[in-house]
């Protein structure tokens, strides 16, 4: 009796699942070859469709060389850098809800993340460690590319774009460093921007442009905030788009395809 009931429940659930997945709404959302589509079969054609009929096609070709798939070859470092960027965007948006870039509020807001925001501390930690991890992974990605000689023709330009991406990553990290507005942030940015002051001829001007004042101040905080949450992400996304496009066109993982 119980068995029959269970069987019928499973049958009903399956029926419902089929009807949902076969509905017009799902049909319209999923392009042919999607693994979520009703009646998906693991065929070579569908394997191609999964990539080709999808936004993924911007990132991946349908087929890749077998040796390029080996984890030991690429270490996934470029992909992980991108993934960390996405994670940082998500956690960063979360943090933006609770943060005010003013001299009086900044530090208090960061403190409040630990005391009065659900998961505030965890998200802040993820954002901070994730940022360090991203600097590291971008750096390691560059080294991996160098050791494989993957910057050689026709991929020279993508290497240049990659160096720009590394610089932007450093700038993103550096501009975010100031935002907690504690002693660590304040003095690290002071030391860092002092280096910019050593630019020959126009050092003072460069430093002023960076800090929006002679030394780190409330104006600097606002400037770094805007740079950190809008300007640098905007620029880096553009460069990433070019970078990924060129990876697809010039050949990415394991050489031109």
């Amino acid at each position: 009796m119980a068995d029959g009931l269970r069987g019928r429940a499973i049958e009903k659930a399956r029926e419902l699942n089929d009807r949902l997945r076969g509905s017009q709404v799902m049909e319209s959302i999923l392009r042919p070859g999607s693994p979520f589509k009703k009646g998906y079969a693991d065929t070579p054609r569908n394997r191609s469709y999964v990539v080709m009929n999808n936004v993924l096609y911007h990132l991946h070709p349908v087929k890749v060389k077998r040796h390029g798939v080996k984890l030991s070859y690429t270490l996934c470092l470029g992909g992980l850098s991108f993934f960390l960027f996405i994670l940082l965007t998500i956690t960063g948006i979360f943090l933006m809800f609770y943060y005010t870039p003013t001299e009086n509020r900044a530090y208090v807001d960061i403190q409040a993340l630990s005391t009065s925001v659900a998961f505030g501390s965890l998200v802040r930690n993820m954002h901070r460690w994730g940022a360090h991890l991203m600097v590291l992974s971008v750096f390691l990605h560059m080294s991996r590319v160098f050791y494989h000689g993957a910057y050689k023709p026709p991929r020279e330009f993508n290497w240049v774009v990659g160096v720009v991406l590394l610089l932007l990553t450093l700038l993103l990290s550096f501009s975010g460093y100031l935002l907690p507005w504690d002693q660590l942030a304040y003095w690290a940015v002071t030391v860092g921007s002092n280096m910019a002051g050593f630019v020959p001829v126009m050092g003072a001007q460069v430093k002023f442009l960076l800090l929006a004042s002679v030394e780190v101040s409330a104006a600097t905080l606002l400037r770094f905030y805007v740079l950190h949450v809008l300007f640098f992400p905007f620029v880096i996304v553009i460069f990433m788009a070019v970078h990924f496009w060129r990876v697809r066109k010039d050949g990415g993982v394991s050489g031109p395809l």
Binding site: V51, K63, R66, G79, N125, Y151, S173
Partner: protein, 317 residues
């Protein structure tokens, strides 16, 4: 049937007319099917001449020679006969030495004769289409060539595939499964890290209280280390901008060695490793071995002066 462009039709008709020695208009008309195509008028004889093969050759390749010679049109018969002969060329030479090469005489008025039994001897004679000029055909106008060499084709494919076949696998699932695994691993790592290790938050910023030492973020600490050795104009600006930015961007244009094999690029690898090891050493030195006043310090004796990890290691206190 697909539509053949007028120009192509015209060109082929001209060629055919030239070969057969008849007016172009006539050929064109036949091609368009306006005039009932006599079997004699079908394909340019000399072009097909080599592969007169026999059974699967539907169109008659008929020598007009028989008609010219005997003035007795038997096209249908000759075709039959030809279809029966396995090796028309050889037979042509052997059995019909006099019956020679197809000529370019056109006889459109030839009506399809009723199929009649044999006449094989005559047919073979008629079917002669020899690739080699056997004997000067009788009754041929001077200068009419009945065959020609179109081209010599080497025995290989017209399309040459230059790319070597490579061993490829589908991105889905082979690459993407690995990627998804990596993503999840990193997410897990980051979550655990964030749950265990607290990000630092020192006292509120105070411009009047300079901490000792003051350190830059760790990725700039190598530079700060350099700054403590050299003139800031050199270490602070020249080294990072020239070496760091322009130097790195110029790498693919300076390194012209096309090989990607490690054994071929020992110098490049050595140079890169040297720079990276140097940067790493400087950074580690700046992070761990610099204490108060940015003076040398042993981390195990004097403690770690690196506040990024202040909340997760406690050598002091």
């Amino acid at each position: 049937m697909t539509e053949i462009p007028e120009s192509l039709l015209r060109r082929s008709a001209e060629a055919k007319a030239k070969a057969l020695g008849i007016p172009v208009e006539q050929v064109l008309a036949e091609m368009r099917g306006e005039v009932p195509t006599a079997p004699a008028a079908s394909p340019p004889v000399q072009d097909v001449s080599r592969e007169v093969p026999a059974a699967e050759q539907p169109e008659p390749v008929v020598s007009r020679e028989s008609e010219v010679a005997s003035s007795e049109p038997e096209p249908e018969e000759s075709r039959k006969a030809e279809a029966g002969s396995a090796e028309p060329e050889v037979e042509a030479e052997q059995e019909a030495p006099t019956a020679a090469v197809a000529t370019a005489v056109m006889e459109p008025e030839v009506a399809p004769a009723p199929p009649s039994g044999n006449g094989s001897g005559n047919g073979k004679q008629a079917a002669v289409v020899s690739p080699r000029p056997v004997a000067p055909p009788t009754g041929l106008p001077e200068g009419v060539r009945t065959q020609r060499l179109l081209t010599v084709v080497k025995a290989r494919a017209i399309q040459q595939v230059k790319a070597e076949p490579t061993d490829k696998v589908n991105t889905w699932p082979h690459l993407m499964i690995a990627e998804l695994t990596a993503l999840m691993a990193v997410t897990a790592l980051l979550l655990v890290m964030s749950a265990v290790l607290q990000a630092p938050l020192l006292d509120p910023a105070n411009p009047n209280a300079t901490p000792n030492p003051s350190k830059a973020p760790w990725y700039f600490l190598g530079l700060q280390e350099l700054l403590s050795y050299f003139d800031p104009q050199i270490a602070g600006v020249t080294v990072p901008t020239l070496v760091g930015m322009i130097g790195f961007m110029a790498v693919p244009f300076v390194d012209r060695n096309p090989s990607t094999r490690p054994s071929d690029r020992k110098f490049a690898i050595m140079l890169y490793t040297f720079f990276m090891a140097g940067a790493a050493t400087l950074t580690i030195f700046g992070v761990l071995f610099r204490g108060r006043g940015f003076n040398f310090a042993y981390p195990w004796q004097d403690g770690i002066f690196f506040d990024d990890i202040k909340d997760w290691v406690f050598f002091e206190e």
